[in-house]
Amino acid sequence: MASVETASAPRDGHRVASAAESGQRGGDIVCSGLYKWFGDSPVIASLDLYVARNQFVCVVGPSGCGKTTLLRMMAGLASIDSGTIAISGQRVTEPLASVAVVFQHYGLFPWKTVFHNVALPLRAAGVTKGEAARRANDALKLVGLNDIGNQYPAQLSGGMKQRVGLARALAIQPEVVLLDEPFAAVDAQTREILQEELLALWSRYQQTAVFVTHSIDEAITLADRVIVMGAKPGRILDDIEVPIGRPRSVASVRRHESYAPLREQIWEQLRGSSTAGGERG
């Protein structure tokens, strides 16, 4: 089992920061000619996407257009019917050690304490007990949850649960983080706080992320690049750079001059896709 250890993950947990700061951390994602069928209709058709290392990409699109499916394929959780996905040059056929997923419904094990939830993937990757404990605690500290390690998930609020989910993803020092509507299940206020925290985290430890969301605001706030997907079949309608520098805050993004036009542009795309349906392209 020890051999499963992430090849590029530094052995020493303390080097997380330095590795990230020197830009060594993120991996790139190459999706080419992706197809996915459910039944006889293609859910994703001929999709190409390149995500550069350390880029934060948000994916927006109407409900049912295949965002989750795309993310699950990247995560190695759904089979790829045609085409390929490569992460850091490694072909995805099963969940990769260098990829971490943050789930919409947290995906925490109710019978494990917060600490053990975070430490589990480390232990699974063959990290020694002491080392796993240190890294788990570091990750919990990173998301501001140092003192609830021995509580059970049922004792936490939704926002705290998702912080644990985030800590678990970051603890393995992945090259790519995939997040499927991670903040969709929490209230608007908590959501904004979590966005703020994520921005702060990313300004320190920039790394590759694909973040699926329904919220255009959230996408602009977080992303370097917004991918707009259309439905039936799922494909990329638009690929928009967000010209807002970092470090950012939720408020500074809202005040930015390009915020409103960007928002308008994405809205137009989505409206077009939902009314024109399959007639586009």
Partner: protein, 300 residues
């Protein structure tokens, strides 16, 4: 923002609070008060529960007593006579050793049944091949009254304790297997996906996901198994070689010692209730994540 923080800070700095001011209570004091109130409420709820239970016992046993005193002794007996007969059976007959014998066969059969149920149920729940191979027989046997198998078992194994243990095990195994099977199947599909994403290997999957996830169902199955196992004990003892509590029951009722027979029945009931209570305690200890304070003062 600053305004909201202020009273907290003041309260923490001066726990007593200035007398004339709006009552400022420190968080810790308030917290302790709320905790105490909640505990009091929980205690009151518990007491009420026990009181109702006690009243219910008094009413039922009172009715039994009165009715028993006004019927023919061959048909029924008041609870006082039943208890006295029970005492006599223990003191001067062999009810003690009969109880010991029954408990021993029960323990063996129950343990075998629970063990097979856990292994079979978990395998069928976790692996398609196991389900494909075994589930038809399990569900067929689950739907079959095990009493129907008793004569055949006697034919194959005989009439001794071994045969009885096998019969008891059969009573426990199938409901246990079915419950555990459904339990494993009910483990959240998302959690299974999470385990794949975390790259758990097969052993880790069992240790960290399947086994802990199935614990509540194993205990539910084991609790049902107590009732099934006790049925098995009595049936086995009546249908193979007359022995144990079954012997006591049969002997007393066939000789029209109704009060004594009722005493044996009462003993079997107490056994069932007691064993369930023990499993309730095990449940409480085994699943700490399910007894979390939900803020309603209820004890779980």
């Amino acid at each position: 923002m600053a305004q909201r923080v202020e009273p907290k800070a003041v309260g923490a700095a001066t726990p007593a609070g200035p007398q004339g001011d709006v009552a400022v209570i420190s968080d810790t004091v308030l917290g302790a008060q709320i905790r105490d109130a909640r505990r009091r409420r929980a205690r009151r709820a518990r007491r009420r529960f026990l009181a109702i239970r006690l009243i219910s016992l008094v009413v039922v046993f009172g009715a039994w007593q009165i009715y028993g005193m006004h019927t023919i002794a061959i048909l029924f007996a008041p609870i006082s006579t039943v208890l006295h007969q029970g005492y006599l059976l223990f003191a001067h007959d062999q009810l003690g050793s009969q109880l010991g014998y029954s408990m021993w066969t029960f323990a063996c059969g129950y343990a075998i049944g629970v063990a097979i149920g856990i292994v079979l149920g978990m395998l069928m729940g976790a692996y398609r091949w196991a389900e494909a191979a075994a589930s038809m027989y399990v569900f067929a046997l689950y739907a079959t009254p095990m009493v129907a198998l008793v004569p055949i078992i006697s034919l194959w194994i005989g009439f001794d304790a071994t045969a009885q243990i096998v019969i008891i095990a059969l009573f426990v195994t199938w409901p246990m297997t079915v419950t555990v099977f459904h339990g494993v199947r009910q483990i959240d599909a998302e959690l299974m996906e999470v385990s794949r994403s975390l790259r758990l290997n097969r052993r880790q999957m069992w240790v960290h996901v399947l086994l802990p996830g199935a614990v509540p169902f194993v205990i539910t199955g084991a609790t049902q198994g107590v009732a099934m196992g006790l049925v098995g004990v009595i049936i086995a003892e009546l249908q193979t070689q007359l022995s144990g509590l079954g012997d006591a029951l049969q002997t007393q009722s066939q000789t029209y010692h109704t009060a004594a027979a009722l005493a044996v029945i009462l003993l079997i009931m107490v056994l069932g209730v007691g064993l369930r209570a023990i499993l309730g305690l095990v449940h409480h200890r085994a699943v700490p994540w399910l007894r979390i304070d939900r803020g309603d003062g209820a004890q779980r």
